[in-house]
Amino acid sequence: MTDFLRPATVEDALALMAAGGVVPLAGGTDLYPATQRRALPGLVLDVTGLPGLCGITTGPAGLRIGAATTWTALARATLPPALAALQQAAVEVGGIQIQNAGTIGGNLCNASPAADGVPPLLVLDTEVELVGHRGIRRLPLSQFLTGPRQTARQADELLTALHIPASALSGQSHFRKLGARAYLVISIAMVAVRLDLQAGRISHAALAVGACSATACRLPQVESALTGAPAAEAPALIRDADVAAALSPLDDLRATAAYRSGAAAELLRRSVATLCQPVPA
């Protein structure tokens, strides 16, 4: 097929992208269903052969995740407890086949409000690395996602990696997702929570909610309410009204808006409770 490109270097890839009209393809699990056809339209550029796009590496600055790293690879990697939420999300994205093919970069670039990868990365203060023929740039994930199915990526840029700063690798995290059935389902709401606990108190809290606003978001007001609180009292400090104020959910076929924000608050309470449980000796 002539409309399928699989360059071996990022430079080649960028040169091809510069010509315009080229659609990047990773696992294809979003791109292909979205075409509603048997074949992908137009010129497709497979990013999975590019060096540095697959795999996770650690350095002094923090952790780097290649954009084309699959969910399965993420789930199987040995990672700090701060990434537990991301790994828990990885095993809840679709079924095994989807996890084997789908990538974290595809999940972000596709920018669905219900993308399960986003909240766990938001609580890790993740930055995305974009490479284009004009150079490399980095921006916070929260700025990369500009709306439903919209990102700050230029048409000729590739998402190459995600960077998690060393400062965000502390503590433990947890992910919860709620759908109309137990598994294999699009999230009605999902949350990620990362907490640092010191002497029975929360010293740092990061909370994010997905599928309840145009893009998933952090909840600064709830985070500050939790900071300094004794672990045992933390879940009760998450108030429905504060959560609702941070979100702008839709009424849609999967659930009503009111249901969504109530569910998000409940999921946050549960995740916080899980993380605050005294560890059995």
Binding site: P33, R37, R38, A182, Y183, E266
Partner: protein, 775 residues
């Protein structure tokens, strides 16, 4: 669907009512009832090994020399006219052999719709197939592209340039209600029926319930996609099809293409699931026409999306059920009416009120259905069309009444068991629903249910139990033919064009034939799935098992007569008549004096014959007019509902079935459990998301149309009363569809028991559980 039909059927009923029992089929119970032979054993599916090894060849797998491949273009709009259809780029694309549009499609007539007044017909759609520039529904085929490979065909299909002048379409259920039609009949029943003044009785009743229940559209999702391989040699056509109607398809194609019936052969040895979907749709006609035009064999397989768009599903329904009761809980009024979609070009009336008509005794009744005309892909039959969704409404209503009266819902149902058919007074051939209720309550541990909702909990999870009845009519099709060929070495081959969609028809009829002919299982070969064999009717309405059984019984009687004739005067059987012998132990045996006997081999040898062959048709199914013949089920369900999130998990299901003789327990369990799983899908997740503005189905695939996955399915217990029906062949009734009926209501009722929330709209999703008002 006419008044004439009503009159006709009512007079048949009347006449048959006068005819003495013994003159009718089933008047004398089938002697095989209660005999312990091959029937009733756990024989595994005979084609199992073939399927497991991948040796079973399905319609879209047949290899042929010179095969070419088809792709379709479906309409993206609902109504309109094609203004531009530029096929030049597609025609010029590599490998393309033909682009078929309304411009070059051969002019063909309409396919007659299947229906009770035209039993030989097989059409699911009465719309023209690629005959003009009109678009009549969203998904209608606009063009077919034929190429050397599937990839080339798919590619070229994308190059077709289509412009449409869009016209206003009817796609809004509620908006169509003022224009609803009231058909005179629904299948063989008069549509509007009443006894007494039900509305007045309802108003005066000591206790009553009156509510509206809705069910969404459902789509077919059999594992095998619709596929055909069409092949012409001169004026002879062979179609490898995945169909529930082998012989009727051959007849329809012969008529449509102006061929002699014997010049058309339809082969369908294996079908990967039917459920009502594997009928006669546009794709067969398109493939046959294209193959003729290029004079090469053609393969056409629908995509999953195309199955959603081109093969209809179950209509949405809006149903009213009202029940009035006296202080003892005896029904004084029973009303079931409603709306569903059935454009005049579709065949399935979604008979949701029919089951209710025989379910309970009441002092007054009112039943009737209204049809809405929407511009949709013709809706069609889907496992228990009518009863599946109708039972949700009526059995939810009974539960509502039981709660209002503070009577146990099983007990309330038992108090309203009818002695005879509530509307006609016709006796039931066999009905042991009460037995099923008692058996089920005991087995399920119904005692543990709290009568008060929200009374049982496990942490945040509320626990509840619910129950619901299901029913499904016994149907036997007229005119199923079958041939028995018996050879001197004691081997019998039974042949009929019938169809096996995976349920085990050949296996069960092999068991039956062994008993009927008095031969061991390994002496029987059962052939089917080929229109060159004696013609069997469509496999639908759970009718095939008894239809074939009746044909085997008839052919075996004829065989007996022929064998006695051949036996002649030198035989120990000399002078005996057919009624005086039975077929047993490989030959004929005198009933009075079992020492007078002779084997088939000896009879044939003495007569100098290698074999004997008879073909016979089952007796007309007049028993269905003399008796009320139905299967029943008692469904029990246990659920857990999170009081916080509304998440719903079904933890246990039990179905107790009163369905006549169980011919093969292993396959029966699987058939009934499969039906219950489909009921679970209907309750929890299945829903066609239909955009009422555009008339387009928004979830045409399994990623968004959720059928139950393994993790959704709880432990399902299946059992039965095992009581034979004295009026049917083998004492059996069909079991293909009863499994789905009642399940959704049992689940909704269990949800009410757990939460105190009454959900009257399917599917039962978590936001509805948190949002809903307590009843």
């Amino acid at each position: 669907m006419s008044r004439v039909q009503n009159t006709l059927i009512e007079s048949v009923r009347k006449v048959v009512g006068w005819v003495p029992e013994r003159w009718l089929p089933g008047g004398t119970p089938d002697p095989l009832i209660g005999r312990h032979g091959a029937v009733g054993t756990q024989l595994a599916q005979l084609d199992g090994p073939q399927k497991v090894r991948g040796a079973a060849r399905f319609a879209a797998e047949v290899p042929l020399e010179g095969l070419c491949y088809a792709a379709l273009v479906n309409s993206p709009v609902t109504r309109g006219r094609i203004t531009r259809l530029d096929t030049a780029a597609a025609e010029a694309a590599p490998g393309v052999l033909l682009v078929l549009t309304y411009r070059n499609m051969p002019r063909l007539g309409l396919v007659p719709l299947m229906g009770v007044t035209n039993l030989g017909a097989v059409g699911n759609s009465a719309l023209p197939i690629l005959q003009d520039d009109q678009i009549r529904y969203n998904g209608q085929v606009m063009a077919l592209v034929l190429a050397e490979t599937q990839q080339q065909a798919d590619h070229a299909a994308r190059l077709i340039d289509l412009s449409v002048d869009t016209a206003p379409a009817l796609s809004d259920f509620q908006a169509a209600k003022p224009e609803a039609r009231t058909p005179a009949s629904i299948l063989v029943e008069r549509n509007e029926q009443s006894a007494g003044d039900a509305e007045a009785a309802l108003r005066q009743a000591a206790f009553s319930t009156d509510a509206t229940y809705t069910t969404p559209g459902h789509n077919h999702a059999a594992i095998e996609l619709h596929g055909v391989t069409a092949h012409w040699t001169g004026n002879r056509l062979v179609l490898h099809d995945a169909t529930q109607a082998v012989a009727p398809t051959a007849a329809a194609l012969a008529k449509l293409f102006g061929l002699r019936r014997e010049d058309v052969r339809v082969l369908s040895p294996f079908v990967g699931g039917g459920f009502g979907a594997k009928g006669f749709w546009d794709h067969q006609v398109l493939a046959v026409a294209a193959a003729r035009m290029v004079d090469r064999p053609v393969r056409l397989m629908l995509s999953r999306e195309a199955v959603f768009r081109m093969v209809g599903g179950r209509s949405p329904t809006e149903q009213r059920v009202a029940i009035g009761a006296d202080a003892e809980g005896r029904f004084t009024a029973l009303i079931h009416t409603g709306y569903s979609v059935m454009p005049p070009y579709s065949a399935s009336p979604e008979q949701y009120t029919l089951g209710t008509r025989s379910l309970y005794r009441a002092q007054s009744y009112r039943f009737g259905q209204k049809h809405l005309d929407l511009d949709i892909v013709p809706n069609t039959f889907m496992r228990a069309p009518g009863e599946s969704v109708g039972s949700f409404a009526v059995e939810s209503a009974v539960d509502e009444l039981a709660h209002a009266m503070d009577i146990d819902p099983v007990e309330l149902r038992l108090r309203n068991e009818p002695e005879t058919h509530p509307l006609t007074g016709t006796p039931f051939s066999q009905r042991a629903l009460a037995t099923a209720w008692r058996q089920g309550a005991d087995r399920f541990g119904w005692d543990a249910r709290s009568t008060m909702p929200r009374a049982r909990r496990d942490g945040e999870w509320l626990l509840g139990m619910g129950c619901a009845a299901g029913n499904f009519p016994y149907v036997r099709m007229p005119s199923g033919a079958l041939r028995i060929r018996l050879t001197r070495d004691g081997q019998a081959t039974l042949s009929t064009s019938a169809q096996d969609m995976g349920m085990g028809t050949a296996t069960v009829q092999t068991q039956h034939a062994a008993d009927r002919l008095g031969l061991p299982l390994d002496a029987i070969t059962f052939e089917m799935g080929d229109s060159d064999l004696p013609a069997a009717p469509v496999a639908g309405g759970s009718s095939q098992t008894v239809s074939i059984a009746a044909a085997i019984a008839a052919a075996a009687s004829k065989l007996t007569v022929e064998l006695l004739r051949l036996a002649g005067n030198a035989s120990p059987l000399a002078g005996l008549r057919a009624g005086e012998v039975r077929l047993a132990e490989g030959g004929l045996v005198c009933i009075e004096d079992p020492t007078r006997r002779e084997t088939y081999g000896d009879i044939l040898t003495r007569a100098g014959r290698d074999e004997i062959s008879v073909t016979e048709t089952g007796a007309p199914p007049l028993e269905i007019f003399k008796y009320a013949m139905l299967s029943h089920s008692a469904n029990f369900c246990e659920v857990r509902v999170s009081d916080v999130t509304g998440e719903l998990r079904v933890t246990r299901l039990l179905g107790v079935f009163d369905v006549g003789t169980i011919l093969n327990p292993r396959m029966a369990v699987s058939q009934l459990r499969g039906g219950m799983i489909m009921g679970l899908g209907m309750a929890l997740s299945e829903e066609v998301l239909f955009d009422e503005r555009s008339g387009r189905i928004m979830n045409p695939g399994l990623a968004d149309y959720h059928i139950p996955a393994h993790l959704d399915v709880p432990e399902i217990d299946v059992t039965w009363t095992g009581i034979p029906d004295p009026r049917s062949p083998l004492g059996a009734r069909g079991i293909g569809e009863i499994g789905i009926t009642g399940v959704a209501a049992a689940i909704a009722n269990a949800v009410f028991n757990a939460t105190g929330k009454r959900l009257r709209d399917l599917p039962l999703t978590l936001d509805r559980l948190i949002g809903a008002e307590g009843a």
